[in-house]
Symmetry: C2
Subunit: 192 residues, 2 copies
């Protein structure tokens, strides 16, 4: 049973998720448990970065509970589809990874049914599901020490901005003579 | 001159950025102008998605001013390095793209110096820079109608979750026999 997620009461976190994410998605609430468990293991006072192993739901829990956001670059995403995240010291790369433990879901059929889509969505009772997540709490998470590869700790510095000769917009110079959008990216996104 | 960004007063938005992004980054404030301009052009009451053409700063402006977040999937990022974003109708793909207009920066040397890194960071007065952004307002943005490629309007549905035989964690079945992390992704991120 968990009563607080980060500095929020469980109910306050559910509301905050509704506000930010658009609805009180079980994935973000469950993500909150993972973030909370990782945070509790980090030494106090360090500067840390985050890495999510899925782009679904979990990144929003990180953005609500830590200083790491997608726009400030302290949160990275690897879309592997694993419901796991790492928080680690920016300097040393030492940290903790937390993951929803499949074995521990056995004791929580509401969560298991939702997670593995074993029941049609309409048959899921959202209140019961959230209550099960609250009851499961930190007990749903497995936690392990990790060490991030040194290459990921280096911040790339972008080149100075230059004007692309094709679109006439600014982009960080990469020595390719045109921005990545004009070099092929844009045609997959925008219709001409 | 702009007094409101989304539903925030300029000063309230600056505070909200500080809270969420960690500091009142000029890029997120400027991003707020782009989001605000695009929002004002969208028809009322439609459901829309967002696409950012940079992963720096701008995505946080989108997350603060719209229902689109990285975790709910309504915000996509293409890291092309262009300071531009599109908001578009989820169903039809019709929408608006806004971009910081290099030509209009000529009248705002504080913004130009910061954007093109023409002056060392220490010589930038953050207050003056924010005031220039406020003064420039919507006049700093160029706006264009866009149409998103139909392929981007289709939501991929993930397969059911299965247990990866290597890491024993759950991932959406992709027919490859193991999760993307075990198939090579993890070794670039975590030290064994």
């Amino acid at each position: 049973m968990i009563n607080k997620i980060g500095s929020f009461s469980f109910a306050a976190f559910v509301n905050r998720v509704k506000e930010f994410h658009g609805f009180s998605a079980p994935g973000v609430i469950l993500g909150g448990l993972l973030v909370d468990a990782a945070l509790k293991n980090l030494p106090a006072g360090i500067l840390y970065d985050a890495l999510c192993e899925t782009d679904k739901c979990l990144p929003d829990a990180v953005q609500l509970l830590t200083p790491c956001t997608i726009g400030n670059g302290w949160l990275r995403i690897r879309p592997w589809g694993r419901f796991a995240l790492a928080l680690y010291d920016k300097q040393t790369g030492a940290g903790f990874r937390t993951v929803l433990d499949p074995e521990r879901l056995e004791a929580f059929p509401e969560i298991k049914d939702w997670y593995y889509k074993l029941k049609p969505k309409e048959e899921t009772d959202p209140g019961q599901l959230l209550e099960a997540i609250r009851e499961g709490g930190a007990g749903l998470c497995r936690i392990q020490k990790i060490q991030i590869q040194p290459a990921l700790l280096i911040r790339e510095h972008r080149g100075k901005r230059v004007i692309c000769p094709q679109c006439r917009e600014a982009y960080p110079d990469n020595g390719n003579g045109a921005c990545p959008a004009c070099r092929g990216g844009a045609k997959d996104v925008y219709r001409q």
